[in-house]
Amino acid sequence: MTSQSGLTVIVPIDRKRVRDLKALLSTMNIAPGQANPANSLVPFGRLENLHFARFVILDDQTLDDIRLYGLPRQEFPLYLAFVCDFDGDRAAFLTDLVQCCGPGLRSVFSFCEDFPNGADLLQWLQDHDLPIAANYVNWRGRTVKQVREEARLRQTIGDYLRSNARALEGQPAGLVRTEVRKFVEGQIAAGRLTLTPPASTPWGAKISNLVHLTGGFVLIALLAPLVGLLVIFRIRPMEKTDPEYAPVPDPAQARQLAVLEDYQITNQFNAMGAVKPGLARRWVVSYVLLAIDWTARHIYTQGRLARVRTIHFARWVFLDGKKRILFCSNYDGSLDSYMDDFIDKVSFGLNVVFSNGIAYPATRWLVVDGAKDEQKFKYCLRRHELPTEVWYDANPAMTAVEMERNSRIREGLEAATLSEDQAREWVQLL
């Protein structure tokens, strides 16, 4: 299995040059925020292990919210975030990245405050790659290559079925599968289709995964009683007085965000906010993200984050000594349907993280209510959202569910035997 990794380079930029930086970034786009895969600055399309990438300027519009607690506004540096999701290990990806897009990246990062002339780009990227607090991958092990090969497989089978519709009509599923297999084998032999077998998991990865599984579990279990006490004695009393703040989002900001959305089926999302004051909140949110990261790595590994099936990649990253958090995701559908999914299916999962952020709709016991206050939650999220300057999606117009379907088709095709019932289910996927 090839595992997926993330790069999250976050670096301070010179405020006075933001306009020029935005202008440079926009040269990569074919439509507002939509990267041209073959753009000359950072030709994402040439990185064949890259699923998603984005450039975002982290210009937090909610810094004044801390005044809700009677505390003064705190200034933070203005950051540029460069976020990638890719297959395989980081070192190999970074080497590819620098080789393929070095000059372009240099001109982008020259806007950063600490990018020395003649810097070793590879080393510099490594140094500025922040640790991911919690990472979610829709389907662990599914590579870009696999997604594309399996999409091609489904299309080819579809064409075959359409041109042989009459002959196959009314045939039992088992027979259809045999015919399709024969056809696909022929296509593979003729070099018209490729189905690369999954790479074996290296021993090192197997061991580190096992260590993470057991070590993480022990750590989470040991800390659970302490966090429980913290929730009972500190968090719950605070929940009763924590201010909510969810005004209608500024129409100009909302428009600026909407311009970037809904070109294809998949969209990008960034939200940023400050953690509520006090160490208790900081500890709780650190623990929660640790637990989510562990769960996402070992439990929700195949197409579902609890009941949500529309998220391709998502991550939380701490900034500024855990005073602020950045959340980035790639999801299917419009933002409103994404938020509806959150509210209706996993409000508990969102509450447990985001309720530690300033202004979030009131929760009880970290998980109850919160996002269930639909309108306030939506305003709150929109208010914390940040526009993406450049966004790249290696498989536009392909939903996570569709990728799963294609994998299931391949699995059924490659299975040694299927019962007639299984074959029927398989045929229905085609």
Binding site: P172, Q264, R304, L305, S337, K345, K372, E374, P396, A397
Partner: protein
């Protein structure tokens, strides 16, 4: 939760009635000419209410306003700013919205007859009348408002006897409004219900989340608003939205000849096969019978009368889509699902379900829960009827336009109408499908690197699905706008503005 009683005398009749007996109707799209005269008209306009009369009415008038219209009437900026963003920007107000609604290509607002960038009306007056009485009713009204309004368009309607222009029985399924306000919206919905919280269709009441949808609330200090009702959730403020709702109106031009010719061409001109294909695209027979079996268990909010059989069903009995295809119009428009798959009956399976462990089936948890996305349809057809046989015959040189003035009511345009349109009807990925959108409404625009969306698949028991390819665009949007349908008190308040 205390039940709130809704005063039907303060609600426009359209929320409760379809006025089906008033078979003549027209929609007047108006621009405000003289604001003072328009306000004076609002103060006394003969608007029919939702109160049940001893005698059914002979005529009825309903009125709704776009945000521009309300601004021209002189609504204070505090009130104007209290309306939702989508109502303020309007149906054609930004490209992102048009992309989501599928209003691109020939359906793009630039090509609209009305409602486009330069042709957004201020006011929509809906007139309904018994046969033969509309002309006089209209003349009376237009005479009455004089210089207040200028007529931009009069959209005529026709009575096709309960059928939409393709020939199918229409308007069968409607949500049942919880007028008594007894629904506790905040709990989980385990079984399918057709009863929907009043707040989904009327502003000022609790919605399916048990919350109040945003609407304009005004400070009570202004003496002009003394008559408005207080907001239930913020009693210190007056609720301008109370007993009002939003009207989504779209003129959908239907290519009836194109539709029947296409299904005919896919059926070797066999009239039975042709009919079957058309019915599988709709999900009902021409007469309105659903393709799935009627439920033997009662469904809350759907009666037991034989006529209700047409509506007493869910898709639970058809998990493989072999009776009613997944992509059929009625399955997209209202998937009739619940909050959880598999109806977990006690807390442990429910918890298991919440955590996403209940089922790994390909289609589990793929769709949103229906109850947050219901609309109340009130549209009318236009143009002359055409039978399938006549549609297939050669067309006359100059063919008449026909279609539907689609009209629906909802309290939250984004979560209700726009969601249904975007995530269900126009989506090329609905319910795990791909390469197809709504067989009737789809705009067939390719996605990604030119992937087609002009197909329609019909699952078949145990075998390979039938895939119909090359569907042309059958429906073109030629107009549309979002209107606010005020309660009667709010309308009368408009009449007092500026005085």
């Amino acid at each position: 939760m205390p039940a709130t009683s809704i005063d039907p005398k303060d609600v426009q009749g359209l929320v409760r009635f379809g006025y089906v007996k008033l078979t003549e109707a027209c929609y007047l799209l108006l621009r405000i000419g003289d604001a003072a005269a328009a306000r004076a008209w609002c103060a006394k306009a003969p608007v029919a209410t939702a109160e049940i009369q001893g005698q059914p009415p002979e005529v009825a008038l309903q009125v709704a306003f776009t945000w521009d219209g309300l601004r021209k009437l002189g609504l204070p900026s505090e009130a104007l700013a209290g309306f939702s963003a989508e109502f303020q920007s309007g149906m054609a107000g930004d490209e992102n919205r048009s992309r989501r609604l599928g209003d691109v290509g020939p359906s793009a607002p630039d090509n609209w007859l009305w409602g486009g960038p330069l042709s957004t009306p201020d006011v929509l007056v809906m007139l309904f009348a018994k046969p033969g009485k509309l002309a006089q009713w209209r003349a009376e009204q237009e005479g009455g408002w004089g210089a207040a309004f200028e007529l931009m368009h009069c959209l005529d309607t026709s009575d096709l006897g309960g059928h939409e222009p393709f020939g199918f029985t229409d308007g069968i399924s409607q949500p049942e409004i919880d007028w008594a306000g007894t629904r506790n919206g905040n709990g989980d919905q385990i079984t399918y219900t057709n009863v929907v919280a009043a707040g989904e269709f009327l502003l000022g009441y609790r919605n399916e989340y048990g919350k109040y949808t945003d609407r304009p609330l005004i400070d009570s200090a202004d003496p002009g608003i003394a008559d408005l009702l207080p907001a239930e959730d913020v009693p210190a403020k007056k609720d301008l939205g109370r007993n009002g709702t939003f009207v989504v109106m779209r003129t959908l031009e239907q290519d009836v000849r194109g539709f029947w010719r296409f299904v005919d061409s896919q059926s070797d001109s066999d009239s039975g096969a042709r009919r079957q294909l058309a019915e599988s695209m709709v999900g009902r027979t021409i007469e309105g019978q659903p393709l799935v079996q009627t439920s033997t268990v009662p469904i809350e909010g759907i009666g037991a009368a034989p006529a209700d059989d047409l509506n007493r069903f869910t898709f639970d009995q058809d998990p493989a889509g072999t009776r009613c295809p997944f992509g059929a119009h009625i399955r997209r428009a209202n998937p009739r699902n619940t909050d959880y798959p598999g109806q977990p009956s006690w807390w442990l399976p429910l918890l298991w379900s919440k955590l996403g462990f209940a089922s790994k089936g390909f289609r589990t948890d793929i769709m949103a829960s229906t109850r947050f996305h219901r609309i109340l349809r009130r549209g009318r057809e236009y143009g002359e009827g055409l039978t399938p046989e006549a549609a297939i015959q050669g067309s006359p040189g100059k063919d008449e336009k026909r279609g539907l003035h689609f009209l629906c009511l909802n309290a939250n345009i984004v979560r209700q109408f726009e969601f249904v349109q975007n995530a269900w009807l126009m989506s090329t990925k609905f319910d795990g499908l791909t390469e197809e959108s709504d067989p009737l409404l789809g705009n067939r625009t390719p996605v990604g690197d030119g992937l087609p969306t002009d197909r329609f698949s019909i699952p078949r028991e145990g075998g390979v699905r039938r895939c119909v390819a090359g569907l042309p665009q059958f429906i073109t949007v030629s107009g549309g706008a979002y209107f606010f349908l005020p309660g009667i008190r709010a309308l009368r308040y408009f009449g007092r503005l500026g005085s």
